[in-house]
Amino acid sequence: MRCAILGSGNIGTDLMMKLLKGTDASGSGTTPLELVALVGIDPESDGLARARKIGIAGPHEGPQWILDHADGIDMIFDATSAYVHKAHSQAYMDAGIVAVDLTPAAIGPKVIAAVNLTEHLDAPNINMVTCGGQATTPMVYAVRRATSALPYAEMVSTVSSRSAGPGTRQNIDEFTKTTSTALREIGGAEHSKAIIILNPAEPPIMMRNTVFAALPEGTDHDAVLQSIYDMEADVQRYVPGYRLKNQPVIEEGPFHTPGGVVPHRAVVLLQVEGAGDYLPPYAGNLDIMTAAAQRVGEAIATHRRTSGNVQHEAGASA
């Protein structure tokens, strides 16, 4: 499947480096994605310069370039901003291009790679939530599947200042709102809250995420812990640097949560170390996003190949 990356900033460039390895997101097979271009708006950007050096097209005409070359593109990874994605999502759809949206625009259904990867493979637009959402929703889901109910879940994401780009900074509310929604819609919590903190320490800190989950009376704590360990292994299959920083703990309350009073809470302390494809390993927030997007793009490509409904690809092989 022929794809282009839109947005030549940190995320777009990191995804390009991943796709150029030729292996799939798990690192064990071949990727079904063929990268045709990294598209930006600034001809001087480092990302575009890298693309050209490697021999990948690196135009700077932005979304219009994608629409002008729609015949040769089956899928785009949009790593611009929520605003830019919202303005063009209909045009991509009309042009028959599948959009994997890495912005918090939240136009299409949300996908968390480790939880609902195969739920929306036919959707024309997929939303990848946020980096914090990709890191924490799996753990919320892991608690939910081991309990009778999950009245409330909360995530706290701390990223190094250097790895938070202008898109995140100018619209931080979109990050927290989109992430919080994912904790409910995909994680299975009844109520939720998301918090993001930027930390300027030098050398930069690794991305840290903490999940707090309200445990109702009668919860089997061992089952919750086992489910968390299982989920860690699942996410590690496409983000090797994803790990429990300390053992998950069950703390005694009572806790007066928005979902009611509960006797205990689970605390899951996570760290994400990036693969260092473009930015250094501390930028795990970018890595989990690009790795998840690659995994979702590959799942869509494989699905459409087997169901044979990719027009462009049929044309190309003819």
């Binding site: 909360e154 509310d173 903190i197 707090f212 300390n246 703990v249 949560t257 605390v267």
Partner: protein
């Protein structure tokens, strides 16, 4: 402005909330607002201790939803303007819209002192609502005077009407305050304010020094109720300001009555500079970590002082309360390993 350009912002109902684990009730709010208002305090800040939307596992759940308390404050006040505080990443622009409907006129948008560019969205929303917007740079000891100027100018460019620097860790000496205030007053077109904590017993003297260097907005809380070893006590600040001949517009005796008769009886413990409080100031650790660290120390049977010192080493910033559990677990694991090693030696 009134006869004086000195402005006192009392944060008993916001920063004070940390010291009572966010357990304010409507009756407390009514009494405190009436007392501050009658004493002539110009601005009264009210919100969860970590700002609008702060009620959470990470920071502690409010006993009463903050918007109910804010609504009461707005109903009760006669002259004082009601302010809120919001940390982008914790609270939302929608929260500002809601509290503005309730009557809140001043929005303090707070960030770590190097991250001013995340306040643009919220400062502009506050201004759009017709509120006074105050840019609030926290943990100001962690940035240089030049660095703070750069950050403050960004906030000014977004439309902030006033800029504050907050010594959130109560870690600044008087000299630290003076050089920062001086640089900011020179560089800014808008007025400056200083928010002090008392971990090094410097809150009142640093506030007075800030005034002398040109800061015209000062923060306090009644009886010093607040994060860490406490805030700059409003009643002491008013009394000392008066002795310096500063026209404050507030009545120190009325503030003393409020502190003694209303606020002290609410306090689970008086604000003293004990070891943990002093370590906050000494190691430069965010004041509201204090009680969370105390609880984690009990839960995991480790030293509260060790937790705070390690947080200082890790350069955690305000809002990272989850790291307290992280540090406590690592300290507990280290103790366990040492115990096992000890047994081996004995065997």
């Amino acid at each position: 402005m009134t006869a004086t350009d000195y402005r006192l912002i009392d944060s008993t109902l916001r920063d004070g909330s940390h010291a009572i684990s966010h357990q304010y009730y409507a009756d407390d709010v009514v009494k405190i607002v009436r007392g501050l208002d009658a004493a002539g305090v110009q601005v009264i800040e009210i919100a969860h201790g970590d700002g609008l939307g702060g009620s959470s596992f990470n920071y502690g759940f409010s006993a009463v939803p903050e918007k109910e308390l804010i609504a009461r404050a707005c109903e009760v006040t006669q002259n004082a303007r009601i302010a809120c505080l919001l940390l982008p990443g914790i609270g939302l622009a929608d929260d500002l819209r809601e509290v503005n409907e309730l009557g809140v006129q001043v929005a303090r948008i707070a960030v770590h002192c190097t991250e001013a560019d995340i306040t643009e969205q919220h400062i502009k929303v506050a201004k759009g609502l017709g509120m006074e917007a105050i840019g609030f740079l926290m943990m100001a000891h962690m940035n240089s005077p030049e660095g703070l100027v750069e950050q403050a100018l960004l906030m000014q460019s977004y439309g902030a009407d006033t800029i504050y620097i907050a010594d959130s860790a109560g870690a600044m000496t008087t000299e630290d305050v003076k050089v920062r205030v001086n640089a900011l007053v020179q560089a800014l077109d808008v007025p400056l304010g200083v928010h002090a904590h008392n971990n090094l017993a410097m809150a009142v003297s640093n506030s007075i020094a800030a005034y002398q260097e040109g800061a015209r907005n000062l923060d306090g809380t009644s009886a010093g109720l607040g994060a860490g070893a406490g805030n700059c006590p409003t009643e002491i600040l008013a009394a000392v300001s008066t002795k310096y001949g500063i026209e404050t517009g507030v009545d120190p005796l009325a503030l003393m009555d409020l502190a003694e008769d209303v606020v002290r009886p609410l306090m689970p413990r008086q604000q003293v500079i004990d070891r943990a409080g002093l370590i906050l100031g000494y190691a430069g650790v965010y004041g509201s970590f204090l009680l969370h660290a105390e609880r984690a120390a009990e839960r995991y049977n480790v030293s509260q002082a060790d937790i705070l010192l390690e947080l200082g080493r890790r350069k955690v910033v305000g809002g990272q309360e989850d790291m307290i559990i992280d540090v406590a677990l690592e300290l507990a694991a280290k103790h366990a390993t040492q115990d096992i090693a000890g047994e081996d030696v004995n065997a």
